[in-house]
């Protein structure tokens, strides 16, 4: 999977934003969250998105995750212009290619961790016999074995965050989009999660785009994009990290 993707597409961007603008509201109340962003991300990359709050990084993530549509500009995913897709086609794109870890987790209330993680598999029509083992495995990877039948209300913030990560990776998406995946975790848990994401990126070839505030976390990524006032201020590749 990894080699095939890399061979084929080393020079074709997986994700390409061109002149993307996003305006909220109209008239005098209009607020420009993105002011013409160009961004290309290639398969297998691990990108950290940084910037102060209000700089447009979350908006950009929502557009990348096909949760929101740009006001102007184009977004191409694997060469397909997302703006041309209809509601259902975008849903299928999210279902089959993307995994999203929300800042506010967005887990289903009163629903066990296991069922939350199974949800994307259900929409993928994964057979019942495969669903349980896959969901359990994902929960095990985020260190939640034994918590399968607890509902979000019974889990701590950090545990909920890990359920959200498990739900995003259980389908082995092409791209994993994570909005502050370590925001609620202590440093030990944070580094565990980052190691996990690094291994997904390295071993499974999952492209990861992650919003973070912390320099430590951004250090795990191979590339860091800085947002400021709705524009990309700085985009630099890190030196190849020696893997531990």
């Amino acid at each position: 999977m990894k080699t095939k993707d890399e061979d084929k597409t080393e020079n074709v961007p997986l994700i390409e934003l061109k002149g993307v603008r996003k305006v909220y509201g109209t008239g005098i109340a209009a607020m420009e969250a993105l002011r013409g962003v160009d961004l290309s991300i290639y398969p297998g990359e691990f990108v950290a998105v940084m910037g102060p709050s209000g700089s447009g990084k979350s908006t950009c993530m929502n557009i990348l995750g096909c949760l929101d549509t740009p006001t102007n500009g184009t977004y191409c995913f694997q060469g397909v212009e997302v703006g041309q897709l209809n509601h259902d086609q975008r849903a299928l794109l999210r279902r089959n290619y993307l995994g999203f870890v929300f800042q506010g987790f967005n887990l289903l209330n009163r629903t066990s961790a296991l069922e939350n993680v199974e949800l994307p598999l259900l929409y993928r029509h994964t057979s019942k016999s495969e669903m349980h083992p896959l969901a359990r495995e994902a929960l095990e990877q985020v260190g939640l074995t034994g918590w399968e039948h607890h509902t979000p209300g019974e889990l701590s913030g950090g545990q909920q965050q890990r359920v959200a990560i498990a739900r995003a990776i259980v389908t082995r998406p092409v791209v994993l989009l994570a909005d502050e995946p370590t925001g609620n975790l202590d440093s030990k848990r944070s580094s565990e999660i980052m190691d996990l994401l690094t291994s997904f990126n390295r071993d499974l070839g999952i492209t990861i785009i992650m919003v973070t505030h912390e320099q430590d976390m951004a250090a795990y990524a191979k590339r860091t994009v800085h947002f400021l006032d709705g524009l990309i201020e700085n985009d630099r590749k890190q030196k190849e990290k020696s893997s531990c």
Binding site: N62, F100, N106, L107, L108, L119, P120, Y123, H125
Partner: protein, 401 residues
């Protein structure tokens, strides 16, 4: 896809037991109220019809005066015994003719007294009114003609005056008349109009006229027509005869009324139909209130559910998958609630019909109407807010406050 939606819907219902239950409660109450009220209303109507039918369809009642409606009649001269005799003599194809007159008076036995309806009539009164003797005997035609002081009493009168004693052979006093109790009628219970049919004393007509009231008046003549003879024809014959006897000229209206049981049935079921429509209106209001209950729960849960829909869309659910799930949820809740409502209604109807002493009449159309109406409300108010949410961009659904 339907299987998937079913799994998702059932999971969602199981998680939200309270919400599901409250929604169902609206449906249950609405459905049950309508079915119970309509079933009992129909039962009461049926009871009226049956009671009248038990009197026989070949019975005619002749009143002086003209019936204006239930309980109203214009005043007119009463009949005389000679009128009844003329009917018996001149109208063919009659089985029996029973002139009767009644009055309310106090019956006295020793220290006990009881105010009751005393009727003077002939021995044919009993067969015409379907009254059977439980103990003793009725008076004979000879006793009627002579006017002896005997009486037949109803069950209520027996209880009030005699308690546990055997009444047959005792003397009771009606005004100044002292008469011997020769028979006890079989209990018949309440009439359709609510009066106690066992609170009566029947004495020979001649005795009544001569020794109790001192008047020759007759307030009603009951006539039974032989089977197979048209009652309409007999009614016309009687009317013609009475017009002559009451000296009515051609341009005068009848000052008497010949009614057959069909007309009486129509009159009475008119009353119960008013009652049934009233009950149906109350039932309709219950259904509406139940519907509003369903609506409330559905609309209140929209905020939470919009975020849930946002999450599902973000994970990759298509609009139609989300909608199918919500539709299945609404249908499952509505049909389950409807089913419980119907079962509850049937049980309550059977019990209440027993308590209120009306027959249990199953009315299938009303069950369908009630269930379909509540189900429609459940589905509409479950489905349309969900559809609105599912058409949003996922991020807007997620941000919904």
């Amino acid at each position: 896809m339907l299987g998937n939606a079913l799994i998702l819907a059932l999971r969602e219902l199981r998680r939200n037991v309270m919400r599901s239950f409250l929604t169902m409660l609206g449906i249950i109450i609405g459905v049950a109220a309508v079915i119970i009220l309509v079933t009992l209303g129909k039962g009461a109507t049926r009871q009226v019809t049956e009671q009248i039918a038990s009197l026989g369809s070949n019975l005619l009642m002749i009143h002086p005066g003209k019936h204006m409606g239930p309980g109203q009649s214009s005043g007119a001269a009463p009949f005389k015994l000679a009128d009844a005799e003329a009917i018996q003599r001149e109208i063919p194809s009659l089985i029996a003719v029973a002139p009767a007159s009644s009055s309310s008076m106090t019956a006295i036995l020793g220290n006990e007294n009881w105010t009751t309806a005393v009727t003077g009539s002939t021995e044919q009164y009993f067969s015409l009114n379907n009254r059977k003797i439980k103990d003793g005997r009725i008076f004979t035609s000879n006793e009627t003609r002579v006017g002896v002081a005997v009486c037949v009493i109803g069950e209520t009168v027996r209880i009030k005056l005699f308690g546990r004693q055997n009444p047959i052979g005792s003397q009771i006093r009606l005004n100044k008349l002292s008469c011997e109790v020769i028979g006890l009628l079989e209990a018949k219970g309440q009439s359709t109009m609510g009066s106690d049919q066992d609170d009566i004393v029947v004495i020979p007509l001649r005795t009544f006229q001569r020794r109790v009231t001192g008047k020759e008046d007759i307030s009603i003549i009951q006539v039974s027509v032989r089977d197979g003879i048209s009652t309409d024809k007999v009614k016309q014959d009687i009317a013609r005869l009475l017009r002559v006897r009451r000296h009515l000229s051609d341009n005068e209206e009848d000052n008497f009324d010949v009614m057959d049981m069909k007309e009486i049935a129509k009159m009475l079921s008119g009353t119960t139909q008013v009652l049934t429509s009233l009950l149906s209106a109350v039932a309709g209001v219950s259904l509406l209130v139940g519907g509003i209950g369903i609506m409330n729960i559905m609309l209140v849960s929209v905020t939470e559910r919009t975020r849930e829909i946002g999450t599902r869309l973000a994970i990759g659910a298509m609009e139609r998958e989300v909608l199918l799930q919500f539709l299945v949820e609404a249908v499952v809740v509505s049909s389950f609630g409807g089913l419980i409502g119907v079962i509850l209604a049937l049980i309550s109807s059977v019990v209440l019909a027993g308590v209120l002493n009306v027959p249990f009449v199953l009315n299938v159309p009303i069950i369908f109407i009630a269930v379909l109406f509540s189900a429609a409300i459940g589905v509409i108010f479950g489905y349309f807010p969900a559809r609105k949410a599912a058409q949003l961009d996922p991020i807007d659904a997620l941000r919904h406050e």
